[in-house]
């Protein structure tokens, strides 16, 4: 629930300014790394009063925005942070439990011996032919499954949280290293978006696999427990 709210509100916020940059600075008067055609704000409605605002550098300009933009960030941001509080607190609980119970070590992290090209190739070709073993209903995860879960749990999710904090003016004032770690505010915003893309693709893949490998059994396993 919280992650869905994060994804939706994050997307709404991106619609307000659908341009991504690298470094500290990026705005409609500077070049973008990537422009996403996802809202009417994507195409600028025009400027007036353009003027140079720094002696000795005519490329530093100011201009007045003359058009109303799409902006639903008021509730969007507040809901994003409400969901973030819930996701981070429950996520920490899950990580703690996963480490202490040995769940991560035994069931999630791929065994190093299996990370060789042969094992990966076998599991990969099987997945591509959709010859995936039926659900076992328990944490007896396959190799690709373990790799995907590990990337999500130990790379994408933590990165989303940390880049999120790196965009906060209050947090980076207290912990400046957080911002410089990613090369600046706009870089952190771009990486935050990349983490969103990875997590969304994972979720789509995950739901696809659940649906194709025994939907009812999975749903039972995830909620009321395995049928004995």
């Amino acid at each position: 629930m919280a992650c869905l709210a994060l994804a939706v509100t994050g997307y709404v916020m991106l619609m307000t300014h659908p341009r991504l940059y690298w470094g500290e600075v990026g705005n409609s008067l500077t070049p973008a790394l990537l422009e996403l055609p996802i809202s009417r704000n994507h195409q600028h409605g025009g400027w007036q009063g353009q003027e140079a605002i720094l002696d000795g550098d005519p490329s530093v300009i100011s201009a007045n925005r003359t058009f109303e933009i799409f902006n639903q960030n008021g509730w969007g941001r507040s809901l994003h942070f409400l969901a973030a509080w819930i996701a981070v607190l429950t996520g920490l609980g899950y990580l703690l439990a996963g480490v202490m119970s040995g769940h991560f070590r035994r069931h999630v992290l791929p065994p190093t011996a299996h990370l060789g090209p042969r094992h990966v190739w076998v599991d990969l070709t099987r997945h591509l032919r959709l010859q995936v073993p039926r659900a076992t209903g328990g944490p007896d995860y396959g190799l690709l499954q373990r790799v995907a879960y590990s990337v999500v749990l130990f790379v994408a999710l933590p990165l989303a949280v940390v880049t999120g904090l790196a965009m906060s003016p209050r947090v980076t004032a207290a912990v400046p290293a957080l911002s410089s770690l990613f090369g600046g505010f706009q870089s952190a915003r771009t990486i935050h978006f990349a983490a969103f893309v990875v997590l969304t693709l994972f979720t789509l893949g995950h739901v696809f696999m659940v649906a194709t490998t025994g939907f009812t059994r999975h749903m039972r396993g995830m909620t009321i427990g395995e049928k004995r």
Partner: protein, 250 residues
């Protein structure tokens, strides 16, 4: 095994929750109203967590002259033609290059006062090159020169029961900050931008800089400052009733 894990986890969770609860209530006075709205409660949780966990004194990064960037002017770009209650007055002041502009400092202060732009320019100033982070997602770097708000409040003599500093602007915005942000050394009443006077599109003659919050807290076209002991949401002119978080330190 399962039993032991649970008791250990319970112990940890209880300990963390206890420590969190202690930190959150420590030194935490009044919070902005939530009106029973869950989003406003989340805003307050972030505000309380920042105040409890992060140093009040920390400064935002200051950049070099070479980092100064282009800077879009958004929102009201001239209160004179914004059709607001302050429009006519602003237009009169603008015609005279703001020589008659006066800022009034009132409320819970020992010596209520009014200052002109020239008065501000005579006071000890601070110049800082900082990043403006707009809630929309863009950012820009500029050099700001102005009087630290703390100096003005010192000159006016804030009374012991003071808790909030409220601002009203010529384009009819009302917003407030707490004393921690008001007395922060980088919080300025800025009259200079990139070595020139702040232009009207960027909030001239005098705008606020609240560097540890998003751009919308750095109000443009400052008109009055009122120091208060109780929280004023600014009514229809304030951020909260327009659906925006009062605290934007994110």
């Amino acid at each position: 095994m399962t039993r032991r894990l649970f008791s250990r986890r319970a112990a940890l969770v209880t300990g963390l929750a206890g420590a969190g609860g202690y930190l959150l209530t420590r030194n935490l006075g009044q919070l902005p109203p939530t009106y029973g709205h869950i989003l406003r409660m989340a805003d307050n949780a972030t505000y309380a967590a920042h105040r409890a966990l992060l140093s009040d004194e920390s400064l935002v990064r200051e950049y070099t002259h070479g980092d100064i960037s282009s800077f879009p002017a958004i929102g009201t770009t001239n209160p004179a033609d914004a059709g607001r209650s302050g429009s006519e007055l602003f237009s009169t002041l603008q015609r005279n290059a703001f020589a008659d502009w006066r800022l009034s400092v009132e409320g819970l202060v020992a010596r209520p006062m009014t200052v002109s732009v020239a008065d501000l320019k005579r006071m000890p100033s601070r110049t800082q090159i900082t990043r403006h982070t707009c809630e929309e997602g863009w950012s820009a770097i500029a050099e700001w020169t102005g009087v630290p708000l703390g100096r003005i409040l010192d000159a006016a003599g804030i009374l012991p029961e003071a808790r909030w500093v409220n601002f009203k602007t010529y384009d009819d915005w009302a917003d407030s900050i707490d004393l921690i942000d008001a007395l922060h050394p980088q919080t300025l009443l800025a009259y200079g931008m990139n070595g020139r006077d702040v232009t009207v599109p960027h909030g001239g003659p005098v705008r606020l800089r609240v560097e540890r919050q998003l751009g919308y807290k750095s109000l443009k076209f400052i008109r009055t400052i009122v120091v208060s002991s109780t929280f004023d949401d600014g009514g229809k002119l304030g951020s909260i009733q327009n659906g925006w978080s009062w605290y934007a330190g994110i």
